[in-house]
């Protein structure tokens, strides 16, 4: 049933509401004043609400405020209409406005209940204040930590750097610390976010990129020594790269640290050289004896021949025999001289692939004769060693000579206390698994006090009396074997026939290494 505007405003048949109030001016005034005040107040509230919503656009459920505004305007309108119907009986219009108000009220009330759980979930100002305080504390702590770590980063003498692994797998510098900037003559700001290949000289990039790649591909920490050309000259770094992975396990960043070990390397080399000289010194006495032997033979045979020649009693066969002997003896001396010459050389030759058995053989030959004089027998066994190792043969020979020398000292010391000793067993063989070569040097000199066994590889540790040992031999040996990627161990052993002694076992990996740099992978 459609209701036209005229019908709506048709007041026919109705009496104004004022009739009900008997047109009493006081009651009329009371209703008019109250309804007008209520209506005005109601109309002002939506203005305030809209103003608030407009100003505070971040307020949650702003639409609720607008719904509320609509509801209040409707309410306000009903009050103005109440005043109007005191004199004009437009009750249909008033009823319709009330209907609108009813729907608006219903919608607002329903929405309010529907919203209630969400409104309750909103943090209260007090809660917000508490969480603000917690955040402030957190920020302060983080600032302090950041200051502490940036102090590490900025003040440590170690070169530190962060390399970003880009999505295409290439590398870019994230940050470098002042120490690295100083050592490398680099500008941290110029390096930041630039690809490594563009940021540094091509020669340097060629050196470092394969390392970063190895770290990225293996996902493991790697460390190695590298020699780099720096503005301050060539420096040796012990560098460590630590991969940082994302949730998927992909390496996204590499943390690097480099310690300048140039000075330490130099000192190490100096110590090796010193110890070599010390070993040479102890060998010198033996060497004098070794040299005097062939010289003596030569002198005796030439004098012998000369005397017979002078007496016209020299048969050609005798002369030939004597000359051959002389030649043999000069060769024997030549070999000795070669050996001493090589032994004293500073670098000991370059890293190369060689068979350890040859070194052992050479060391045995060098001392066998001298030791025989002291009634010490060198027993060789198990020469089935074919695998090559990488290193400096003369250094390994030095290690073995040092073990022989220790064995000899132990044997002589044991004899001095009335014990019977005099054998050094040396064995070389490939490990059954085919990856290592094992060298064993065993003496029957009574063994080492188990309490000092853990210390014997320490520098300057010696059980010998003052002046007898530098205490460097074994520690140098340890360094040399370690440098070849191998290890050296010592333990006491009971020998067949009741004797007791020390067994040194050197295990060397058989892996041809192309580079001078060593690299270890940490599982």
């Amino acid at each position: 049933m459609a209701v036209g505007l005229e019908e709506l405003l048709d007041t026919g048949g109705f009496v104004p509401h004022g009739v009900c109030l008997l047109w009493r001016p006081d009651i009329l005034m009371l209703h008019v004043a109250s309804d007008v005040l209520i209506g005005l107040s109601y109309f002002s509230i939506p203005v305030a609400l809209i103003y608030f919503v407009m100003r505070r656009r971040d307020v949650a459920f702003g639409w609720m405020a607008l719904l509320f505004a609509l509801f209040i305007i409707a309410c306000g309108t009903t009050h103005f209409l109440s005043v109007w119907t005191l004199w004009t009986p437009d009750y249909v219009l008033e009823g319709l406005v009330k209907l609108i108000t009813a729907f608006a009220s219903l919608a607002t009330a329903a929405a309010l209940w529907w919203l209630m759980p969400r409104l309750l979930a909103l943090p209260s100002p007090r809660e917000l204040e508490a969480s603000n305080r917690a955040l402030e504390l957190e920020v302060a702590t983080r600032r302090e930590m950041e200051a502490r770590y940036s102090s590490f980063f900025n003040n440590l003498g170690e070169a530190l750097f962060i390399v970003q692994v880009l999505p295409d797998g290439d590398f870019a510098y994230g940050a470098i610390n002042p120490a690295l900037a100083r050592i490398g003559g680099l500008d941290p700001d110029q390096l930041r976010d630039r690809r490594v290949r563009d940021a540094v000289k091509p020669e340097l990039a060629d050196l470092v990129i394969p390392r970063y790649t190895a770290c990225r591909d293996s996902g493991k920490t790697i460390d190695y020594e590298e020699t780099l050309d720096m503005p301050a000259g060539q420096r040796v770094f012990h560098t460590m790269l630590v991969p940082v992975k994302d949730a998927a396990g992909r390496v996204v960043q590499i943390l690097g640290s480099g310690r300048d070990v140039t000075e330490r390397k130099r000192l190490q080399e100096e110590v090796i050289q010193t110890s070599k000289l010390a070993t040479l010194g102890t060998l010198a006495a033996g060497m004098a004896h070794e040299m005097s032997q062939p010289l003596n033979v030569i002198r005796l045979w030439t004098e012998n021949t000369l005397t017979r020649l002078q007496d016209n009693l020299l048969e050609p066969a005798r002369a030939e025999k004597a000359l051959r002997l002389v030649i043999e003896q000069t060769e024997r001396m030549g070999k000795l001289i070669d050996h001493v010459r090589m032994f004293g050389r500073r670098d000991g030759g370059g890293m190369r692939s060689f068979r350890p058995a040859d070194c052992v053989q050479s060391a045995v030959e060098l001392v066998r004769h001298q030791y025989r004089q002291e009634d010490i027998e060198i027993v060789e066994k198990g020469w089935a060693a074919q695998l090559p190792v990488t290193g400096r043969p003369l250094e390994l020979e030095q290690v073995i000579l040092n073990l022989f020398s220790n064995a000899r000292d132990a044997i002589i010391a044991l004899r001095a206390t009335g014990g019977a000793a005099g054998r050094i067993m040396v064995a070389v063989g490939d490990d059954p698994d085919g990856h290592c070569v094992v060298i064993q040097v065993t003496d029957d000199g009574g063994g080492i006090d188990p309490s000092v066994l853990p210390q014997i590889f320490d520098p300057f540790f010696t059980t010998k009396e003052v002046g007898k040992g530098s205490g460097l031999g074994l520690s140098i040996g340890y360094g040399i074997v370690d440098g070849m990627g191998g290890r050296i161990e010592a333990r006491n052993v009971d020998l067949e026939g009741g004797g007791r002694g020390v067994r040194f076992t050197i295990t060397l990996p058989s892996q041809p290494v192309s580079s001078v740099d060593r690299e270890f992978s940490h599982a």
Partner: protein, 126 residues
Amino acid sequence: MPDRFHILIAEDEVLAAMALEDFLSFKGFRVTVAANGVEALERYASERIHALVTDLRMPRMDGETLIREIRDRDATLPVVVMTGYLTEDSDLKQERWKPLEIFSKPVNPRTICSTLHRMLGIPLEA
């Protein structure tokens, strides 16, 4: 005349012992060679020896022990020492070991020979 004299050589270096034996034999001595101190002492005990020519460093028994053992038995046996070592501070330089002469290797066999002549009181040949 030297053929009356029996020389014991203690030397473990075979070639040196051989040459010295040959030289001294050529010069008329009777010569016996021992390869170490123990063997030399056995020879000394079983044969009539007039002089000892010995090396110092030898297996089984060294020269110094050998000399000490011999001096216990015979205070006057002439001893000639051949050594590859410096002997400045050697105990063998003491008077009590005499008659004893020390020579450094390489030794001159003529010197050894003439020393033996002198120590044994044999007149040098013209």
